[in-house]
């Protein structure tokens, strides 16, 4: 059975309109302007994923919050579980951009990493 889905690629702000045709194992992506569009199209119909940007509490820092993100896209259905885990985390300044804050969050293989450096007070 063949099914067709119309999607908008979120890989970048171009927002290409994709047409994804699924025929059993065979998945065809049309309308993309780069290879990221193919990856996004296939994942979106098989295992949709998102990068989660959020913050954690930072103690002794110049500011009270440290921005973080998942180092790679994680399954969409885990977003709120990951948020719950990340909200329990407290770190101490100084922190360097790229530092791993939580390793392998909920077994996804993705790390939670700092997205800025934070000097200590």
């Amino acid at each position: 059975m063949t099914t067709t889905k119309e999607l908008i690629c979120i890989s970048c702000p171009m927002g290409c309109h994709l047409k994804v045709t699924v025929d059993g194992e065979d998945i065809q992506v049309e309308g993309n302007t780069c290879k990221n569009g193919i990856t996004y199209g296939i994942e979106e119909v098989t295992n949709p994923k998102r990068i989660i940007p959020t913050t954690v509490i930072v103690e002794n820092g110049k500011l009270p919050r440290l921005p973080v993100k998942t180092s790679e896209a994680v399954p969409k259905e885990l977003i709120f579980d990951i948020m719950n885990e990340v909200n329990k985390v407290k770190v101490k300044a100084p922190v360097k951009m790229g530092d791993i804050i939580v390793e392998n969050i909920l077994g996804t293989g993705a790390n939670i990493i700092a997205t800025r450096s934070m000097e200590s007070l």
Binding site: I8, R65, F80
Partner: protein, 421 residues
């Protein structure tokens, strides 16, 4: 007091950082950045979401990461900067420009410089600017203010949220508040189309089943101390509320994402000519304003939707400032630009081809959604270039690059027209 800088950059956000870096690389020796906030990076510091940098760095970064890369470049080039410093005034004294500043440590100060780059960015339109009927309780924020509270200060703005306006910051905040446990009841947009990027509708609203109510606006704010709810109403083609379509939505927070205004108080006072369509300075190919030696770039010139293009534009201004102090900047204007009524503006407004290396990128926006159309560029009756696109929408800035070779040999006005394919 005796020192005269080569280039002083007003504002240390994305435009200011890129402008300073490029000015220094292009030969300006004494460069200084003035920033009123407690750190460099500007609005990027609170934009913790990803999607920045695909054009500039070829990878997907968050706002703070994008900022830190540029801040590192500024530090590597030993460009000095002053934080917590407010620029009060800019005066054109001919040979030098005089900048009046104030900060807590040094008090009032005067800085003289050969060239200036205006990179003050823009600010959000507030509830005062749009005049919603009803009460004026607590709990009404611009989307950017709520973003700063949540992402930088660690305060949650509210629990039950309605968002007015579908600008990108509003969409991003709909997702952000949802992730932090708030319920976002609706995003209301008065226009029949969204003002944000399509990808943000998908990943911020659709992902979380947040309804986007197009052709809807808020017609009453309820609640005396804290906001208790809003009345929303459908609007007709003339954007007038339709009687009988009232709907009450209870909420404790209202976020406004209703547009951005370039921050040009200093530019205006200094006598810089302002374009009524962009509310920003009239600029040349290297972003020189009507005052020689004063350049401008980023959201102070035109409200951009991608920071990558802010950096690109700021690079031009940095190059321009460096050329100016080296007496290498031509003021021989080859032609000016204009648009038909279907396009709301075009940047730059003046072009001196002597300063152009290989091409000029013209930035513009359509007034309404345009499908099956192209944008043609004309000198008189002569069509010199065509910009194609799947669909042009007001929320997405169009960049139309024309090679220098196609622009040579003409004078007068280069006119951009939206036409059928």
């Amino acid at each position: 007091m005796n020192k005269v800088y080569d280039t002083v950059v007003l504002g240390g956000g994305p435009a200011g950082l890129a402008a300073a870096v490029e000015a220094k690389k292009a030969g300006a020796q004494d460069v200084l950045i003035l920033e009123r906030d407690r750190e460099l990076g500007g609005i990027l510091n609170q934009c913790i979401h990803n999607g920045f940098g695909l054009h500039t760095f070829n990878e997907q970064l968050t706002g703070p990461e994008y900022a830190e890369r540029f801040i590192d470049m500024v530090k590597d080039l030993n460009i000095p900067y002053e934080l917590d410093t407010m620029v009060l005034d800019l005066e054109d004294k001919g040979e030098v420009k005089r900048i009046h500043t104030i900060n807590e440590e040094d008090g009032y100060n005067i800085i003289d410089t050969k060239s200036v780059i205006l990179t003050m960015g823009c600010r959000e339109r507030t509830s005062g600017a749009i005049g919603i009927p009803g009460y004026r309780p607590a709990g009404i924020f611009t989307a950017g203010t709520a973003q700063r509270y949540i992402n930088m200060e660690g305060y949650m703005a509210g629990k039950k949220v309605v968002i007015l306006g579908s600008g990108d910051i509003g969409l991003i905040m709909a997702r952000r508040m949802t992730l932090e446990g708030a319920e976002v009841e609706a995003v209301c947009e008065i226009m029949p189309y969204s003002n944000g990027l399509t990808r943000n509708i998908v990943q911020c609203l659709d992902d979380y089943d947040i309804p986007l109510k197009l052709s809807h606006t808020i017609t009453f704010i309820h609640g005396k101390d804290r906001i208790e709810g809003v009345t929303i109403q459908k609007v007709d083609e003339k954007l007038q509320p339709i009687a009988g379509t009232e709907e009450y939505i209870p909420c404790d927070t209202l976020l406004l994402s209703v547009g951005l205004i370039p921050e040009n108080e200093i530019s205006r006072k200094a006598g810089v000519e302002i374009d009524k369509r962009t509310n920003g300075p009239v600029v040349s190919e290297l972003r020189e304003t009507s005052i020689p030696g004063v350049f401008a770039a980023g959201n102070v010139v035109q409200v951009h939707d991608l920071v990558d293009f802010v950096s690109e534009e700021a690079g031009l201004a940095g190059k321009g400032a460096a050329k100016f102090i080296q007496n290498n900047l031509s003021d021989n204007i080859s032609f000016t630009t204009e648009t038909d009524n279907n396009l709301s503006y075009v940047i730059p407004q003046e072009i001196a081809l002597d300063n152009v290396e290989d091409a000029v990128t013209f930035y513009m926006r359509v007034r309404n959604v345009a499908e099956n159309k192209v944008i043609n560029a004309y000198f008189g009756d002569k069509k010199i270039a065509t910009k194609r696109g799947r669909k042009f929408v007001p929320a997405e800035m169009i960049n139309f690059k024309i090679p220098k070779s196609k622009l040579e040999g003409y004078e007068g006005k280069l006119r951009f027209v939206l036409e059928d394919k």
